[in-house]
Amino acid sequence: MNNEWIYIAALDEIPRQGARVIETGHGDIAVFRTLSDQVFALRDHCPHQGGPLSQGIVHGEKVTCPLHNWVIELNSGVAVAPDEGCAQRYAVKVEHMQVFVAL
């Protein structure tokens, strides 16, 4: 595993209360931006049946999966109880309005 910070995009290119997808060799990653400009990255694959989390509604620090409404915590990737499961999370940083991810 590579711990380098990789530049992704300018913060503005990710919609507020929304997400962008990064295509990688080992699957898609969803990069979320909350109302208060917090940024998080999760594997774009819902722990339930693999729904694209990047397409869900972002609220607080959570996203609701568009397929069957599981709610996933953005900072941990863990599904909100009583659902159980976890989407892999990736480290992100924002520096000078630029977003970096460590894969």
């Binding site: 990064i22 729904g51 694209p52 869900g56 959570k62 069957h68 409404n69 709610v71």
Partner: protein
């Protein structure tokens, strides 16, 4: 400095108000509580099981010392407020504590009414109100001794049952010949009496007590007719009397109770009152459900939130005596302008009576089989028109079939293995287990824990039945109003009303103004707010894409693999070779894996990658297509048959009319999806009678039908009106859609909406009220001017947005 709030009366209504207040404004007040009883708060309702020995006192305590401490509340227990100085805003307690207040909350409850007959003050004459009374009864309750309970109402019978279970010989004395006359009619009361007698209770009724005998302790009781009975204990349970002495003594206006307004304020605006001590719009209260509603409203105002209004409650009752099934609600006696439906089956001990007015339930008495109590109560509260299933309503929800409210089986009779929620594969046993083990009380909680009813929602009724039957006696603790979601305590209707009255213009303003509990809501409330704002301010409101479900954000339908499907609009389902060729070209160019005809007579292109959407939109737009909105809570399609141009049975130009209707209605956002069809004759090839709005052409004009549904729960439309011209069809259609847009709750289809408000109401607004109809139609047409903008053209032209649809790539 925090403001000071003092609560007088540490009982069910007062403490519930504090609980609700702490949820809304935890830091607003320094709270002090005075309670005459030397305990924390307990569930007074459950005193009956304590008396009967089924529960201990510890089990019914709801708020112990720890709760008050944790919430920073000072509790003065066993201390009573004896004076209020309203000028100085001070209260004074019996033990000499003096406190100032900014707001005062009176929740002093009520007292048992003690008949002023000779001997009423003897040792051994006890009311039934608090744990102290229960302890006194238990001291006197040795097996073999005699108890007399004066009063055959709810409380008297529960007391009698408890004492009998403690081994006493118990006689109930009642003034009338009908037990529980406040809840039961004669027929049900007789069944009840019979059944209680068979358990060993004795009755002396009708009978008027003249004196209680003994000195200094009770030894017996004498009636007007001279008959005497032995008694070691007399429980007086003839009624309650609001506890208003304190309020009166400081000059607060009282009649039978403390008079309060719809905001639960007394005549002194700094003083609020809730619970059994109040009188609201002429009514007094004796059950917890309305008190909890008052608590909710009162806390809303104490938090200076200022939205909620208390407008009275409808209540229902059950008797907490094991083995007896009894349910009563509303105006169960009937009377002028009322009709009654009854079912009597003495052999099975079953009696059911419904009181109706204009095909709406006004009251119900059920004895022996109360499974449908919750259902009748819901129909009653929602004032639903029951004419569609009136013939079978007494047989219960199970027999109603598929007319919306019906379910095929009574949940209670189902085996544990029966599947309740087909979407999520949840069985009855799973639901019951979760309710019991996780102590669930609401539909929301059951949804969260089991997933039952969380998808299509068609099993909601069943889940509610299971909830009601599993919770049993705790029925009244279930909240009677459904909050929009966990982010607010307000209901859909309250939120909607506040958007109008406070003129909120954005989701953010609305959430701030209504004190949302979360910073930016959740995936339930944001789409609802977005819709309500859009509907209320059609010209001004700026749609919030991030508060829309992905389908409405991308104007395409998300599929299980994360690809999308696209449906171009084909007006009335009529196409031509040019359009078909253009669609074929798009299918080739973007390698669309599946092309399918939909149920609504349109062409669906499936399996499209998100980043290809802008290209497809652009190509289809260039060929003259606009979005088919096959994904939205909006007008879907207008399905038509060929009609009189071709069909030998056709009476009118159904195709042409369908196209006109579609041109008028496309692009409109609605609370849920909206489907229309037009058939050229009653053979109804376009299946118009299972659509939200269906037009059936006849020789002499057009029948307009509404409220149909062909989904999980098939519902046939109701006939709204018959009109003579195409122009009228357009006007009624626009007016009906606008009424639905303005009044249905978000995600409520027309079928359940009509069943909730009643067809008669819809007819009244659309058919009888000509001016009203015209205004609704104008409102619809005006809103459409802002709505009929093709989202595909708009988005395809928005390069910023299109770029965001494409994935980001990593630098290599």
């Amino acid at each position: 400095m925090k403001e000071k709030l003092v609560l007088v009366g540490n009982g069910m209504a007062g403490v519930r108000t504090l609980e609700e207040l702490l949820k809304l404004a935890p830091d607003k007040y320094d709270i002090s509580v005075f309670g005459e009883e030397p305990h924390g708060n307990y569930n007074r309702i459950l005193l009956s099981p304590v008396l009967a020995g089924d529960k201990s006192f510890a089990e019914i305590v709801t708020h112990d010392a720890d709760w008050y401490r944790k919430n920073g509340i000072t509790l003065y227990k066993g201390d009573k407020i004896v004076a209020i100085d309203r000028k100085k805003r001070r209260v004074q307690s019996e033990n000499g504590v003096e406190l100032e207040y900014d707001r005062l909350l009176l929740a002093t409850g009520s007292k048992p009414f003690i008949l002023p007959i000779p001997g009423h003050d003897l040792d051994g004459v006890i009311g039934f109100r608090d744990i102290h009374d229960v302890n006194r009864m238990l001291q006197a309750a040795a097996p073999g001794k005699h108890a007399v309970v004066i009063g055959g109402g709810l409380l008297g019978l529960e007391a009698a049952n408890g004492l009998k279970k403690r081994g006493m010989t118990v006689t109930v004395v009642h003034l009338l010949d009908t037990l529980m006359e406040r809840q039961l009619d004669k027929a049900a009361a007789d069944l009840l009496k019979h059944e209680l007698e068979s358990t060993g209770l004795r009755f002396h009724m009708p009978a008027q007590t003249e004196a209680i005998l003994g000195e200094p302790c009770v030894t017996g009781i004498r009636f007007k007719d001279g008959i005497e009975l032995t008694a070691d204990l007399v429980v007086m349970s003839v009624g309650i009397k609001p506890n208003i002495e304190l309020a009166k003594s400081c000059g607060i206006y009282c009649e039978r109770g403390i008079i309060v307004s719809d905001t639960l304020q007394t005549f002194d605006p700094a003083i609020y009152a809730v619970g059994e001590c109040v009188q609201h719009r002429g009514s007094l209260f004796g059950l917890v459900a309305p008190l909890f509603e008052q608590a909710r409203v009162c806390s809303n105002h104490l938090a200076e939130y200022g939205i909620a209004r208390y407008q009275g409650s409808i209540t229902s009752t059950k008797l907490k005596v094991t083995g007896i099934d009894l349910f009563s609600a509303g105006e169960f006696q009937g009377g002028e302008n009322h009709e009654t439906l009854t079912l009597q089956d003495p052999a099975r001990g079953i009696y059911k009576k419904l009181v109706l007015q204009d095909n709406r339930i006004k009251g119900a008495v059920l004895y022996g089989d109360t499974v449908d109590g919750a259902w009748y109560f819901q129909l009653m509260r929602e004032s639903a028109d029951i004419s569609a299933f009136r013939e079978s309503i007494l047989f219960g929800q199970a027999h109603v079939g598929d007319s919306g409210y019906g379910n095929e089986n009574k949940a209670v009779n189902l085996p544990d293995s029966a599947e309740i929620c087909g979407c999520n594969g949840v069985c009855k046993g799973d639901v019951v287990k979760a309710i019991v083990e996780k102590k669930l009380y609401t539909l929301e909680e059951v949804r969260a824990h089991t997933k039952a009813s969380s998808s299509c929602g068609s099993c909601t009724g069943l889940v509610e039945q299971i909830l009601a039957s599993t919770l049993g006696g705790d029925y009244s603790t279930a909240p009677s109003k459904q909050a929009l979601c966990a982010c607010t305590a307000l209901t859909h209707d309250e939120v909607r009303a506040a958007i109008s009255s406070a003129a909120y213009q954005t989701i953010r303003d609305a959430m701030a103004g209504m004190e949302w509990k979360t910073p930016d809501g959740c995936s339930s409330c944001r789409p609802a707010l977005n819709y309500y704002l859009l509907c209320r301010w059609p010209g001004e409101y700026r749609d919030d894409a991030q508060s829309r479900f992905i389908n409405e954000r991308t104007h395409a339908n998300i599929q299980k693999d994360g690809t999308y499907s696209v449906v171009p609009r084909i007006w009335g389902g009529v196409t031509n070779s040019h359009e078909l060729r253009a669609i074929a070209d798009v299918a080739d160019k973007y390698e669309v894996p599946t092309v399918k005809i939909t149920g609504g007579q349109r062409i669906d292109l499936l399996g499209i990658k998100k980043q290809d959407l802008p290209g497809i939109w652009r190509d289809l737009n260039q060929a003259g297509f606009v979005s088919g909105h096959a994904y939205g809570k909006s007008l879907r399609t207008v399905k038509t048959c060929v009609g009189k141009d071709w069909c030998r049975f056709g009476t009118q130009d159904s195709t042409g009319l369908g196209i006109q209707v579609e041109k008028m209605t496309w692009g409109s956002w609605t609370p849920h999806k909206f489907k229309i069809a037009v058939s050229g004759c009653p053979r109804n090839c376009a299946e118009a009678t299972i659509k939200d709005l269906g037009v059936v052409c006849v020789d002499s004009g057009y029948e307009i039908h509404v409220g149909g549904n062909g989904g999980i729960k098939v519902r046939v439309t109701d006939l709204l009106v018959k009109v003579a011209t195409e122009a009228e069809v357009l006007e009624y259609t626009g007016a009906f859609m606008q009424l639905y847009r303005e009044e249905a709750r978000y995600l409520e289809r027309t079928a359940p909406w009509i069943e909730r408000v009643g067809l008669a109401y819809v007819k009244h607004r659309i058919v009888d009220d000509r001016r009203g109809r015209e205004a609704l139609y104008q409102g619809f047409v005006a809103a459409q001017q802002n709505a009929q903008i093709d989202p595909w053209a708009e988005l395809a032209g928005n390069t910023e947005y299109c770029r965001q649809l494409a994935p980001l790539t990593l630098p290599v």
